[in-house]
Symmetry: C2
Subunit: 200 residues, 2 copies
């Protein structure tokens, strides 16, 4: 008995990550009940984002300009590159303020199961950057999965001719987490990477 | 380091029911990465819904027309009225196909704590309908809370002069639920409303 227009936005919302039919219904209803306070501003912001946001042709991040604000920021360390799977990883690292170099978004991970090979990722443009920007240090910030490790090793092999320092983020116990809830492999990696505490 | 446009849609999404900053970020990123498949259709559907959806002046449901398709449907029982708190309740009952009469959306419940009095609800238009449409039966489908009960009793008192049959949805054990997880008051109501099983 729902009108086609309502059904359509419920359907579109339910396809968004983290939303199901039930939550999509709640969202749609909320927007329709508050047209002026919620629906109109959302439409305007989406249109503006659609028109202004583009993929940076250098690092493949999303921004209003290409090259993006990170790529063109002169106060960032020019020869350090952090390799991430996705734009969201880049945003997460930016939020933590720990990295002051540049990024390279791969756009995925090598995956035999999903049929993702090197051509689908931005590996070629990465190698060009390494050469043209004379990158000296590369930090891999990839997922701790088989696909993440495969991608790391594949790219590391390609980097061999360039004489760059390659590192990968530490694996270990996340801050605030209970040992009891950790999986065995994280625990094993945490033991492997243990640091000796200097005595006073 | 996020551009203002991205920040703005994350902020708007995180205000929607059921979404927080984290899920809003995922949704925004998904839309920006899939402009043609996800963002553009969503914008178009939202604009269309914004222009076409309105509140029915009879029952206060949301629809593309006013009076809405339920109010104007000649195959629905004309003298039966189901009183609900919100449009979502009306949609939920419609999905279950159990009720063939008309609806009246109150737009909330009487609540001393939230300062919601009879004037904020559509009670006046309800009384007009009862009279002009010579309603014979009213079913309250309100929440089983203090506010729901208060609203039920308040409206029932107002209905006294009209000679209508008034009922309220049964309280009891939801289908498929474990007795162990039910609260005491639901159990008590389920006992109170128990039905005797005829012997063969």
């Amino acid at each position: 008995m729902l009108s086609g227009e309502v059904d359509r936005i419920i359907q579109l919302f339910s396809k968004l990550p983290g939303l199901g039919p039930r939550s999509a219904r709640r969202v749609a209803l909320h927007l329709l009940k508050k047209k002026d306070q919620a629906l109109t501003p959302l439409i305007e912001a989406l249109i503006q984002a659609k028109e202004s946001i583009q993929t940076c042709k250098v690092c493949h991040n999303l921004d209003t300009s290409s090259p993006c604000t990170i790529c063109t920021n002169p106060s960032r360390i020019p020869n350090h590159l952090c390799i991430v799977e996705d734009v969201s990883d880049c945003w997460a690292i930016e939020r933590s303020h720990v990295f002051k170099g540049h990024y390279h978004v791969l756009g995925g991970l090598l995956s035999a199961i999903d049929g993702i090979g090197p051509k689908q990722l931005t590996i070629e443009s990465l190698l060009e950057r390494i050469e043209s920007q004379s990158i000296q240090e590369v930090v891999f910030a990839l997922r701790a999965t088989v696909d993440g490790q495969t991608t790391l090793h594949y790219i590391t092999d390609l980097l061999e001719p360039f004489n760059v320092k390659v590192s990968s983020l530490a694996r270990g116990i996340p801050v605030g987490s209970d040992l009891d809830y950790l999986d065995d492999s994280t625990l094993a990696l945490a033991f492997e990477g243990r640091r000796f505490v200097p005595s006073h």
